[in-house]
């Protein structure tokens, strides 16, 4: 049975199982479901459509070559793809070798983001939380996440104490978590 279920009811777990079995249709389904997330994150970090496309291809090809990179028992696929894409894009942005061992990244998130509806609902809350966040805190969070700056670099750039930067980064992440409770 192919995972490319025309009704779109296949779970991520079933898709990954089919990909592990070499089902190319399952890979197409996975791409249709999550390519926009991967591409959007890569584009936001890299700021270049060509580089974002290359990252998109790289992430999916890695998953095709080694589906076991994602352990479905220890996380949720779109969340994992988001984090892996961000990390790989930062590596590319900073012209460094891929430093993050993809297989070791475990991502734990409460809401199920597999369906478009779930993601849309979560996105509304996340954007709301970011909007409510103090500008300085949001700026620090986005510099750390989307630009890959270290806390030391952010402190130097903003003139804020290092401890303040650390606190704002953690507090910002926890605020996003709290918004989905």
């Amino acid at each position: 049975m192919s995972a490319a279920d025309p009704k779109g009811v296949s779970t991520d777990g079933a898709m990954m199982a089919a990909i592990r079995a070499g089902d190319q249709n399952a890979m197409a389904l996975l791409y249709d479901r999550y390519s926009s997330i991967v591409y959007a994150v890569a584009l936001r970090v890299l700021g270049d459509t060509g580089a974002a496309e290359d990252t998109l291809q790289e992430i999916f090809m890695q998953l095709w070559r080694n589906p076991a990179l994602f352990d479905s028992s220890r996380g949720n696929l779109p969340a994992w793809l988001s984090v892996v894409t961000r990390n790989r894009s930062i590596d590319s942005l900073r012209k460094r070798r891929p430093e993050t061992n993809i297989e070791e990244v475990i991502v734990s998130v409460e809401p199920d983001l597999a369906s478009d509806t779930d993601r849309a609902r979560a996105l509304g809350k996340i954007r709301g939380a970011l909007g409510d966040m103090p500008v300085a805190q949001r700026a620090v969070l986005e510099m750390a996440f989307f630009q890959g700056l270290t806390h030391t670099e952010i402190a130097s750039k903003t003139g804020e104490p290092l401890g303040t930067i650390k606190t704002r980064i953690r507090a910002g992440l926890l605020a996003l978590r709290k918004s989905l409770k």
Binding site: I106, L130, L141, A144, K166
Partner: protein, 257 residues
């Protein structure tokens, strides 16, 4: 509800973002190894990162991206075998390791085989050469020792034949060939005995012999110790069984040249 160790709380967030380094990272890693709560919090912080990543949603990839991926995948078909990174089967690794070991072994054996072949060829050449040398030596020796060989001693004209002996001694091997002609017949129960007279010490027995009807005799390689320097060779008449030391005056004597 789990409890995160507050002293690591901020560094956990930095670790999730991949920006923690140096001593702080080492300290945290050490703590994480033994703290399940903090490991769980690290995973949740990555989940928070995923939420932040979702805020970037909006742009969609160009349509060509899908075809590009499918073309790439078609170029790298996989056999339908489930692969697990977390619990990687040990036997394929072992099989590859064994194959690699066999390959290395094959190369070594091929090299060894070539060496052995060369060694065999060399030995065959040596053996052929030694066989030829041995054949020549045997022919020379056969000519000296054959009963039907004609032995002629040339002396000055109008001179009656005199007893003659010729000793050829190779000290380093202890080899000795002795040829004699015109020897007088022996009394009953007597024999000639050849002596090696060393530069130091008493005469050494070098063979017992009786001449044939023509007065000729040969001694080939008597049991001598290699390395003895010979000053002269002598012949005495001794009992048939030989003597450990001369018991009569030498009838023939010759010094080395």
């Amino acid at each position: 509800m789990t409890t995160v160790h507050e002293q690591f709380a901020e560094n956990l967030a930095l670790h999730a973002l991949g920006v923690l380094a140096g001593e702080e990272m080492a300290t945290l890693e050490k703590h994480l190894a033994g703290c399940a709560d903090c490991r769980g919090e690290l995973e949740r912080l990555r989940g928070d990162m995923a939420l932040l990543a979702l805020s970037a949603a909006g742009p969609t990839p160009p349509r060509r991206g899908r075809q590009r991926l499918m073309d790439s995948i078609a170029g790298e078909p996989r056999s339908p075998v489930a692969v697990s990174i977390k619990r990687r089967a040990w036997w394929p690794t072992l099989a590859w390791a064994a194959a690699a070991a066999m390959l290395v072994l094959s190369v070594i054996l091929l090299g060894k085989n070539a060496q052995l072949r060369q060694r065999v060829i060399t030995l065959q050449r040596q053996m052929t050469s030694q066989q030829a040398e041995l054949k020549r030596g045997s022919e020379v020796l056969a000519a000296f020792t054959a009963l039907d060989a004609m032995h002629v001693t040339l002396v000055a004209a109008k001179t009656s034949p005199q007893p003659q002996g010729k000793a050829i001694y190779l000290r380093r091997r202890g080899s000795l060939i002795f040829l004699a002609n015109n020897l007088a017949p022996l009394p009953p129960h007597k024999a000639y005995e050849l002596w090696l007279i060393p530069t130091n010490g008493s005469p050494i027995p070098a063979g017992i012999f009786k001449p044939d009807a023509h007065g000729s005799a040969t001694v080939v390689n008597p049991p001598l110790v290699p390395g003895v320097e010979a000053k002269a060779f002598a012949i005495t008449v001794e009992p048939e069984a030989g003597s450990p030391s001369p018991t009569s005056t030498p009838i023939m004597l010759g010094a080395g040249e």
